[in-house]
Amino acid sequence: MRTSQFVLSAEGVGYRAGGRWLVRDVSLTVTPGEFVAVIGPNGAGKSTFARLLAGLLRPASGRVRFELDGQAAGPRAARHLAYVPQSVPEAAGFTAGEMVLMGRYPHRGALARETREDREAAAMAMAWMGVLELAGRRFATLSGGERQRVMVARALAQADSLVILDEPTASLDVRHQLELLERLRLLASAGMAFVVVLHDLQLAGRWCDRLLLLDRGTAAASGAPREVLDPAVLSRVYGLEARVSWDEGGACRVDFGLRERFAPAASPGGVRR
């Protein structure tokens, strides 16, 4: 499916807003075939980091590079790297099919019309996300979950290498969550790569092959799921007692419990504000 080798790398990336560091000194390298989850509590900087990776924010320190065949991707990056935002305003009056077809814009000249190849790519991406029957529906009339799947299809129609998804499972039911991750997993095994912001640690542990755990803007842990989803690390980051168990199929179960309620100051990494 892809013709070129690619690397997305963030080196010591930081971002400041409102006088404080939202992301500080975080590094990550993504290569073909990888499925990386960015996890962490609320306010840890997951979305900010995803936006830095997507090139939507300019890092205050460090740098983000997207290379194709060893060279900076430049203006053609949009053909290979796409971004799926957490939510999309419903104001646009477009149909779902039009939205997905717009993913093909970076592949054509400014005033050119879509070709059959573009429509096929869009239709295949819609088939892939199970949203073919929504093609003629207005985007604004779709449910939250349907919109999210259409937006993923849009990104798959656009980019053939790497897609960064910010909380793609947020408004999906259990079945669609599993289907989405399974399909991304399959695409990754075919040579694409994904960076996914996830809240659900169990989904991350089950489906992704690398996790980046952020805590107050910095990388608390990074590596294989079994290393990162370590009870001691999770306890420290989330300020909760954590138990982690794995079954033979690779499924992961994380249980959290509140600590001693009346002695928050006693533990160094105690419940944070």
Binding site: Y83, P85, R116, E120, A121, G130, A135, R138, L186, L187
Partner: protein
């Protein structure tokens, strides 16, 4: 994606969807453009034929054709003069203004992701009104209408510049801040205009002010056309070619940016083009409401929201609507003349209300 992945989905219906995507939009657009062009021609001929001197449509065609050296039918010399000196410049000016206002309205609605956005959102209309009213109150209207138009143009650009500065916290223009700054500046200039009107003695100047504020093409001449045509054509060319970035910006800045659009530059260029065409239109015709708001919404119901189609269609439809409205304004209460701004508001407001009611079932627009 390769065949293996497709078979993994096991959904052969994607081919049907490919056909469906092909059918969406383009065919309706072509039909709509032909219909709108016909509507504009009809409105233009009706506009030239009707007035204090009624000219048979055959004579209109004959007169226009004779200019091109083609001899069809007959017309009198007097008819030719009425057509060429009085009515044709008026039709051309209404065409330019209508195309400008409708295209600017559609662009604003995309850029601000707000279905209520209209060309005056950034203070163009209120700035032009303040400038024109001040010029008329100062007696410049009696000297030459050019003073009034020039003051209107200056006021329009000045107001937008102010809105742009106020709406750029930290030096970067932000849509929500621009919107709020536009409301604040428009409200302020509206009261300045009101104060000027209150201070003007109730005489000729006041009548001139009210006349200008209602918007109209009564003073249309080829001189006005010559001044307006180049900036309007340049601005409309920019907007007409901006369908793709507008589609993306209408969804979200993030989607646009990760699709290769330079969001900041593109938005600035498009706001500049809308400001230019709106300011020129308002300067030559006064403030004409509802065309920029209603025409794009009406078209969305027919051809959908794709701005590559919506913008050219809006230009044509806006032109036809304003030429038609001007003809109604000129002829409906003969021998008096209504202002075209009154007609667009009288027709536009109920039409807009009807669209809002329809929205409940169609969801063509969302507030």
């Amino acid at each position: 994606m390769d065949a293996k992945l497709i078979s993994a989905v096991e959904d052969p219906r994607w081919e049907a969807t490919e056909a469906q995507l092909r059918a969406q939009g383009a065919r309706r657009f072509a039909a709509a453009m032909v219909a709108l062009a016909g509507l504009w021609v009809f409105a233009a001929v009706a506009a030239v034929a009707n007035g204090p001197v009624r000219i048979p449509p055959g004579h209109v065609v004959s007169s226009l054709a004779s200019r091109a050296g083609i001899d069809v039918g007959t017309h009198t010399e007097r008819e030719r003069l009425v057509i060429e000196r009085l009515r044709l410049p008026r039709v051309v000016l209404a065409t330019l203004a209508g195309a400008s206002l409708a295209a600017a309205g559609a662009t604003m609605q995309a850029l601000f992701r707000n279905p209520l956005a209209d060309p005056g959102l950034l203070g163009v209309s209120s700035g032009a009104a303040t400038g024109a009213v001040a010029a008329i109150a100062a007696g410049l209207g009696a000297v030459s209408m050019w003073w009034v138009s020039g003051a209107a143009f200056g006021g329009a650009l000045g107001a937008v510049a102010l809105v742009y500065v106020l709406g750029s916290p930290g030096g970067r223009p932000a849509p929500s801040s621009l919107l709020l700054a536009g409301i604040a500046v428009s409200a302020f200039l509206g009261s300045v205009t009101a104060v000027i009107i209150a201070l003007v003695p109730p005489d000729e100047a006041l009548r001139g002010i009210l006349f200008w504020l209602a918007g109209g093409f009564a003073g249309a001449s080829w001189d006005y056309v010559r001044v307006a045509v180049f900036p309007v054509a340049a601005g409309l060319a920019v907007l007409g070619a901006a369908g793709r970035p507008l589609n993306l910006l209408a969804i979200s800045d993030d989607i646009a940016a990760t699709s290769g659009v330079r969001v900041g530059r593109t938005r600035a260029a498009l706001l500049g083009a809308t400001t230019l065409v709106t300011a020129v239109s308002v300067s030559v015709s006064g403030t004409i409401g509802f065309v920029g708001l209603v025409v794009p919404h009406l078209l969305r119901l027919v051809i959908g929201s794709d701005y590559r189609y919506l913008l050219p269609a809006s230009m044509l439809a806006g032109a036809a609507v304003l030429v038609g409205a001007d003809t109604v304004a000129r002829t409906v209460v003969r021998p008096a003349e209504l202002q075209v701004g009154m007609v667009t508001a009288l027709i536009g407001a109920p039409v807009f209300a009807a669209i809002l009611l329809r929205q409940r079932s169609r969801l063509a627009i969302q507030v």
